[in-house]
Amino acid sequence: MLESSPKPPAPAEDAESEPRPGRARKPIGWSTIIIAALVAVSAALVWRRDGTDGVLEILTHDLSLFGGILPRVLAGCLLGAFISEILPHEKVSRSLGPKSGLMGLLIGTAFGAILPGGPFTAYPVASALLAVGADFGATIAMVVSWTLIGYGRAVAWEIPIMGTDFTLWRILISLPLPVLAGALGRFVYVRVYPKRAGDEEAA
């Protein structure tokens, strides 16, 4: 060790390898309170109708469902965290930001269509995209594309239950919808939040 230099080497590289500060997490909000109230009322109604056995039967079934979902929720959270860490902010704002145009909506749509998994991946990843510079329009295109033309739910549930013909036909009808929803989202966003939209453009 000849000279200890307190200065970090190559600031440009360093910016890339430096982890981003943690996202702010929401405390228990009113939506949690609403769903808790809804569940409590429903459980009470089930108890009055079917007694303790009815309540326990649903509880056992849903607990096993919950156990099966947990690892996937973990996978979704990790996927979201890795994606928000590795995607460069400037590139995301350029290709999915407010000024990304039709191409941004198409990229969002393609991303939603190929994303594996269910709601436990789509929403953490969408949230990560918002955090690294995607605008509401592109993120809406992504979420709508995941739910309407993504293969996950179609393969796992829709084809077995509704049949291949209906599912493919329904997906065909849905093809234009993510881009249209994203475009409508952008159109409304700059009118509902003119100040925020202006800030984003200036940034």
Binding site: S17, E18, P19, G22, R23, R25, K26, S31, T32, I35, V39, S42, L45, V46, G54, V55, I58, L59, D62, L65, F66, L70, R72, V73, L74, A75, G76, C77, L78, L79, A81, F82, S84, E85, I86, P116, G117, G118, Y123, S127, F136, T139, I140, V143, V144, V155, A156, W157, E158, P160, I161, M162, G163, R170, I173, S174, L180, A181, G185, V188
Partner: protein, 166 residues
């Protein structure tokens, strides 16, 4: 190989893939992402638990027959609008949503409103919105997205009316 297994493989494969990219950016990036993801997970679990365990009770008090009854044979805009409300109000997971759609089709429900029903359910079924979307995403985005999505089940029904049955 079952579809669920395939999806799990794709899911963990993707996690592994992006994890590898993060790891190659350096251990601090990798560790920070792992910590972020785990913290998100720990924060989200109580809400998911409440929703998943509670959804059985909500589904139990809204009988499927009620919703199926809303999907009749006549295909006017009023019927499509009813189907959209039915899609938003359907509790439970994909099995319930798609089963209602299938029952409606088999019992003579018009194709445009069944499409509107399935699309509305996919876009803004209330239970998925409050159980999954709100915990993971900024609430302002979620409400905005739902509001913007409202016209699209109608667009899907209109396309179905134009191009005909599957």
């Amino acid at each position: 190989m079952s579809a669920a297994l395939l999806i799990d493989i794709l899911l963990w494969g993707s996690v592994f893939g992006v994890g590898l990219i993060a790891f190659r950016r350096g251990p601090p990036v990798f560790k920070a992402s792992l910590r972020e993801g785990s913290m998100d997970f720990i924060n989200i679990v109580p809400r998911i638990a409440l929703g998943v365990i509670g959804s059985g009770y909500i589904a139990a008090i809204i009988p499927q027959e009620v919703i199926t009854g809303w999907l009749g044979p006549d295909s006017g805009w009023l019927e499509v609008a009813t189907a959209v409300v039915a899609g938003a109000a359907t509790p439970g997971g994909p099995v319930i949503g798609f089963s209602i759609g299938t029952v409606a089709l088999k019992s003579g429900g018009g194709v445009p409103q069944v499409v509107a029903y399935v699309v509305a359910w996919a876009l803004f079924a209330f239970q998925r919105v409050i159980l999954w979307e709100i915990p993971f995403m900024p609430a302002r985005f979620v409400w905005f997205r739902c509001a913007v999505s409202v016209p699209f089940p109608f667009v899907a029904a209109a396309i179905a009316m134009v191009i005909g049955k599957p």
